[in-house]
């Protein structure tokens, strides 16, 4: 177990290192820079700014400077948002996105697992067909269409729900529904096929012959075997969702990390781009580790090595 942990941490650091290099390279390949804007800034000022932030140095030097500071825990300062450091921005925006994402995932998992099970049990019948149509929609419809649709119906026409911000409990409903729709649909499908597979196994026949009732059969004997693919999907999905969705945060005007992330790229706010990317990478690596560890809890046959 100790050796396993060390190995995993080693791989994680390596992954993050590669991601940082790739991000840094791509970021600098994009034409333009942080101080080119519509306003005409005198070239001397731009030069002075570049010198101030170390952008006049060769790229490898810049990369090393950034990474050197990163190791000491300094994520750098934003080039565009005056007086704000990257970690200040990330840790203000992240909790908002995380809250939104967390609720969405909870909803997606609970509904997805339930709907998938119902679908599997009614294979080929009405409920199965209906749920498959819904989940196909969920996978096919882009989130901005979904968001706009919900907003139009519940915000504009019916006026039931607020259309922007997160100032009340009801304000969470539409952004969460938009965020949860895709993963819920995906989980429904994973769960359905996992469940069908599990229900076909010999141990289900054994359980039936023991006189196990239908609900126990489903939720004890089949569910735990059927849920593994969902767990696999859940790891990266959680990481993506809690770090915020640009579309949902823009449409509903929520000051989350997803919006921040896209904005810093368009603004060429280099330190912020690097820091948010690495933050996301760390989160994904971490979630994958959690997933791998939870496999072991769910399926005792799996050995970690």
């Amino acid at each position: 177990m100790g050796a396993y942990a060390i190995k995993r941490i080693g791989y994680a650091l390596l992954t993050i290192f590669f991601i940082s290099i790739i991000t840094f390279t791509l970021m600098n390949l994009i034409p333009g820079g942080p101080f080119l804007s519509e306003k005409n800034i005198p070239p001397e000022t731009v030069k002075a700014l570049n010198v101030k932030y170390g952008l006049d140095k060769p790229l490898p030097q810049q990369y090393l400077n950034y990474m050197g500071k990163l190791i000491t825990g300094d994520l750098g300062d934003s080039l565009k948002q005056k007086g704000r450091s990257a970690d200040d921005i990330i840790f203000t925006a992240f909790p908002i996105s995380a809250k939104l994402g967390g609720i969405s995932i909870l909803v997606a998992v609970i509904l997805g697992v339930f709907m998938g099970s119902v679908s599997a049990l009614n294979r080929g019948r009405f409920w199965d067909r209906l749920l498959m149509v819904v989940s196909t929609l969920g996978i096919a419809v882009p989130s901005f269409v979904m968001a706009a649709f919900l907003m139009l119906v519940f915000g504009v026409k019916l006026r039931w729900l607020p259309t922007m911000g997160l100032h009340s409990v009801t304000a969470f409903i539409m952004p969460c529904a938009t965020l949860a729709f895709y993963p819920m649909s995906y989980i429904t499908r994973l769960m359905r096929s996992g469940m069908l597979d599990a229900l076909d196994q010999d141990y289900i026949r054994t359980a039936k012959s023991k006189g196990v009732g239908k609900s126990l059969l489903l939720f004890k004997h089949a569910l735990r075997n059927a849920v593994l693919p969902v767990i696999t999907y859940l790891g990266p999905m959680i990481a993506y969702t809690v770090t915020g969705s640009f579309v949902v945060e823009t449409v509903f005007n929520i000051p989350g990390l997803g919006r921040e992330f896209i904005q810093c790229i368009t603004a060429r706010d280099y330190p912020l781009v690097m820091s948010t990317t690495i933050f996301l990478a760390v989160l994904i690596v971490l979630m994958n580790l959690v997933v791998d560890l939870s496999y072991k809890l769910i399926d005792p046959r799996i050995t970690l090595q």
Binding site: D202, Y203, T206, K208, S209, K210, G211, V212, P300
Partner: protein, 338 residues
């Protein structure tokens, strides 16, 4: 009246599977009885309906399969009319099953203890400590060493033979009246096969239950069974005591089966005699005897009409036109003598 004497009374049972291609008559008019403490062997090749006929007893015949006719009376319960809830109380308690493949028959994500004790949780009022105690007893009974430790382990930590022992322990947890063993040794090593069979016979004596042994291995059957039913294409073609089936087989199919057993003490290296042809298509069962197309003594009538059972002794009967013919000739001979 008569029914109460038997533990199990299956009368003209018909089970069909409704597939897109049509109705598959997996069990087509099967009648037999089993007595308390008896070991009945059901023999037949794959697809002969031997498992399906037994599964109706345990509610394991699922969509698209369904009982379409006949009656099953087990230990005072009218199985074919029983609502699912009542049926569930019988399964595991009065009749239990062990399956062919012990590798896949146990749930991989729960401990052996959990699965064993589940049986007791479902059918007894024992508390947690008593259940654990009983589980340890059961593992001892089936010869699993260090039961306390083994209960906490998962199926993948057991060998095939050990898993089958666990399956047997689980099946016997509530001391059922009837144990259905569906090819319990087919998936095991030969040496383990003998151990498992021995264990089952031993436990049968201890608990005093009846055993229905479903198999295509005649060697296994000859050792342990009191009576044997031979099934072909969803029908019983011959039924009798083990001696009657082995020494006075009356049906051509039984004859064929017996001929195809390899003999260990024969010095001549003869080829085994297989039964030619393939099993009958159950979607369109023939009008006559289902074995007729493969039978070497097939007569015209065999293809047209299903023969009735002929009683050879109190316990022995078969459905074959050859026997009818022999009987007829015998009668005529007797008449001629007069």
């Amino acid at each position: 009246m008569m029914k109460q004497e038997h533990l199990l009374d299956i009368n003209d049972l018909k089970v069909s599977f409704f597939t897109p291609a049509g109705e598959v008559k997996a069990v087509n008019g099967v009648t037999y009885t089993m007595d308390y403490g008896e070991v009945l062997g059901i023999v037949g090749e794959s697809g002969s309906g031997k498992s399906v006929s037994a599964y109706t007893l345990t509610g394991l015949v699922d969509r698209p399969g369904r009982i379409v006719g006949g009656s099953v009376n087990f230990n005072g319960h009218q199985i074919e009319k029983l609502p699912e809830k009542e049926f569930r109380k019988i399964r595991g308690k009065e009749v239990s099953l062990i399956f062919q493949d012990p590798m896949t028959s146990l749930n991989p994500v729960f401990t052996i203890g959990n699965q064993l004790e589940e049986m007791l949780r479902l059918h007894t009022s024992k508390n947690r400590a008593q259940r654990r105690q009983r589980a340890i007893e059961l593992l001892n009974l089936v010869g699993v060493n260090e039961p306390e430790k083994r209960l906490k382990q998962y199926p993948h930590e057991f060998s095939g033979g050990m898993r089958q022992r666990v399956m047997i322990a689980m099946a016997l947890a509530c001391e059922p009246k009837l144990l259905i063993a569906d090819e319990p040794t087919t998936a095991l090593d030969v040496t383990i096969q003998a151990q498992i069979m021995e264990l089952m016979v031993d436990l049968k004596k201890k608990i005093g239950m009846s055993v229905m042994l479903i198999t295509h291995d005649l060697g296994v059957v000859s050792d342990v069974c009191d009576r044997i039913a031979v099934m072909y294409a969803g029908k019983i073609v011959e039924i009798g005591t083990t001696d009657e089936i082995f020494y006075e087989p009356k049906h051509c199919y039984t004859n064929g089966l017996l001929r195809s057993i390899p003999k260990i003490n024969e010095t001549t290296h003869e080829r085994l005699i297989p039964i030619e042809g393939t099993p009958v298509d159950l979607l369109n069962p023939p009008a006559g005897c289902p074995f007729a197309p493969r039978c070497e003594s097939c007569m015209k009538i065999c293809l047209r009409q299903m023969p009735e059972f002929i009683q050879h002794s109190e316990t022995h009967k078969s459905a074959c036109w050859l026997n009818q013919k022999a009987l007829l000739e015998k009668q005529e001979g007797a008449n001629g003598d007069e």
